[in-house]
Amino acid sequence: MSRVAKDHDRSLMLGNEALARGLVENGCRMATSYPGTPASEILSSVAAWKKSEKLDRMHVQWAVNEKVAFEIAYTGSIAGLRTAVAMKQVGLNVASDPFMSAAYLGVKGGFLVISADDPGPHSSQTEQDSRLYAMSAKVPVLDPDSPGQARDMTGVGFRLSEEFEIPVMIRPTTRVCHARQDIEKKEVQRNNVEAVFEKNPARWAATPKFRYKLHNQLEEKLKKIALWKETAPVCLNPSVQSKKAIIVSGVSAAHAKDIVRELGVEGIITLYQVIQPYPLHTQFIEMVLKKHNDILVLEETTGVIEMQLARSDRVKGKKSGHVPETGELLPEIIEKIIADFVCVKSGSKILETKPGRRPTLCAGCPHRASFFAIKKAAPKGIYTSDIGCYTLGMNLKAVDTVLCMGAAISQAAGFAHAYDDKKRPPIVATMGDSTFFHAGIPALIDAVVQNIPFLLVILDNRTTAMTGNQPTPASGKDVLGEPVTAIDIEKLVKGCGIKYCRTANPMETDKFIPLLKKAVKYSQNNGPAVVISRSPCLLSLPNEELRENYKGVEITDTCDGCGYCISHFECPAMVMDKEKEKVTLDRSLCTGCGVCVHVCPKKSIVPAESSNMEGS
């Protein structure tokens, strides 16, 4: 085992921290993002380094959505600065409009688009491959295999971007973003370039005639990028002469390196690692096809490399059926594929996936209280919902649809138009505060114009909870914790033209249910109504505050174990004791919110006598 020299400044870095470190080490002057797993920690890490390294000239911000984030950072680059935007893969869908166009116009300062993919998927709606997007936009893309390589690719990416005046994508996957590795820090580069925007309407405001020219220029750039030495594929064992070869990229390369060594085949089979899957280097394609007649390609998730090799007679991969086209390419899957390819035995076994514990809303989560009330207020309703912690409302049967960010409102409209007036059930859309800002506003304006009979419940927990409590435009603080202007959600809703808007605390169940009933009724008779259900995410509150708010409950002997609270409320602090046929309270989880008092149909859950019990 190799030991590490002691005197190096090494630290254990998450892949996303490593990407952030790469940005500050390479003189990035502007970084923007919208949070989304697995990319969320990139921007907060940049902000942390901006603070600790005193990079006063660097601008770091959460934007309202990925499109806005992209446009801000892109424009910083056409003013001559090194800039970057980070997002998850489905965020790139939102930013795809400026992304496609920016490829034509090109950049001045280096511009990196970090789009983190999620094969599996672990925490996403799709397994889409951002490298295909890069191909579609005609933008070069780099595919890191580890946090260390991700860090190094930021420097390479900036140089590539500046040399060819083109946006460059870095495409890490979950296993890079959320891997930790000991990494030696390099010095932070203080970049003091002054912003200069050189006007050139034929480029920066190009009309279709000029766009055609720019498209031709883009094609010329790509031809040259496919010859650029710094991102050329690497042969990992150049002394080996073999007709068979394995081409790997991204985290599949990391898995393959260990596996080839363990199977003892590193001396008999040529292994290439692709650094830049698109555009694939021209000379590499020629050389590989000349030297090898049997080629295995391992990459996630789509066959971007094999597509460019374009030789189905020689290439084994996704198209030939040797490599799965869906799901994560786990090392045990890769081990079996490689062993079969080189005709050796392997002990590879694939674990059968057993259902684990399903995720659920936290004990004391205000969303649970909102969902319980919505089901009481509109028991036969259609419940459209959206992306966030509250997607978990589906456990409570209070979420019927989840499509993409902001769709809860448009889907409510779609259902409203689809049903005849007399047969239409009540329609209740739920959407978090951050999602509302991100993509809900245009849909709400549309619903007002069309006078859609539906109730929108904005689940306003004052934060972007699912991705780790990032601020929203209503928070009044930025990524550095500094004060910024706060947007008032009520005013915004009213500004969209909504006439019926109420704000209430969902934790006050006895008042909240009647309020929702009224709003549902109004929406059915008059058109769109909005209830802002406001109560902070418990994960965003300090322990002292949680203790102060602790009310506490007790379950009396009248509990007959009917299970209503378990199936309709699903609070993790409530546990069915099968032997005693009674529900018990897990006091280590109970936050003492007291909402369950209103849930039990037998009134067996009561407020605790002493209100000063120890909270968790």
Binding site: R10, H122, D145, R180, V251, K257, D258, R357, T360, C389
Partner: protein, 179 residues
């Protein structure tokens, strides 16, 4: 020596915390480390698993049948992820019952819930388990981990630090003394 370690439990139990603590302790012992973590939706009370590899590795993931050590913070996780263990590997499970996987003596039980309750230290269940785990397979010395706790908790109250160290030690001693 190279080590491959699986740590699993439910979101919120501190799986990521002890993974990182052990990784940093090994790193301060001048060894290379590589981990893979669960973030996002699963952290809301769902099953959380982390992989920790100490030594010469490129891949952040552990293949089934390869782990030297498996730490299960919930009893039901033992069955879920037992397949990661190699034949000579050892598992430690937070459970009141003895070895709960049928026909194996590779799983050792440590009743961390009970110990934490006894010590009025419910936030440290993960550290009892980590202490027990390194008593079973010496991935890293307990002294190195204690030192790392001191570093990580440097800004926290002295009492919190002492409680964390106490949990680690009690888990360790419980396994060493075999009860």
């Amino acid at each position: 020596m190279n080590y491959q370690i699986i740590i699993s439990g439910a979101g919120g139990q501190g799986v990521l915390f002890i993974t990182r603590l052990l990784a940093e302790a090994c790193m301060n012992d001048n060894r290379h480390v590589l981990t893979s973590e669960t973030h996002g939706m699963a952290q809301r009370g769902g099953t959380v698993i982390s992989h920790l590899k100490v030594g010469d590795f490129k891949s952040p993931l552990i293949r089934p049948g390869s782990a030297d050590l498996f730490v299960a913070l919930k009893p039901e996780n033992l069955d879920l992820h037992y397949g990661f263990l190699k034949k000579s590997g050892m598992a430690i499970v937070n459970s009141s019952e003895g070895s709960s996987t049928a026909g194996t003596n590779r799983a050792k039980a440590l009743n961390a819930d009970f110990l934490a309750n006894q010590d009025n230290n419910p936030g440290s269940i993960n550290l009892y388990m980590l202490g027990g785990a390194i008593a079973l397979i010496p991935v890293c010395s307990i002294e190195k981990i204690k030192k790392q706790i001191e570093i990580r908790f440097v800004k926290k109250d002295k009492k919190i630090r002492a409680k964390a160290v106490m949990a680690l030690e009690r888990g360790f001693k419980t396994i060493v003394s075999g009860c």
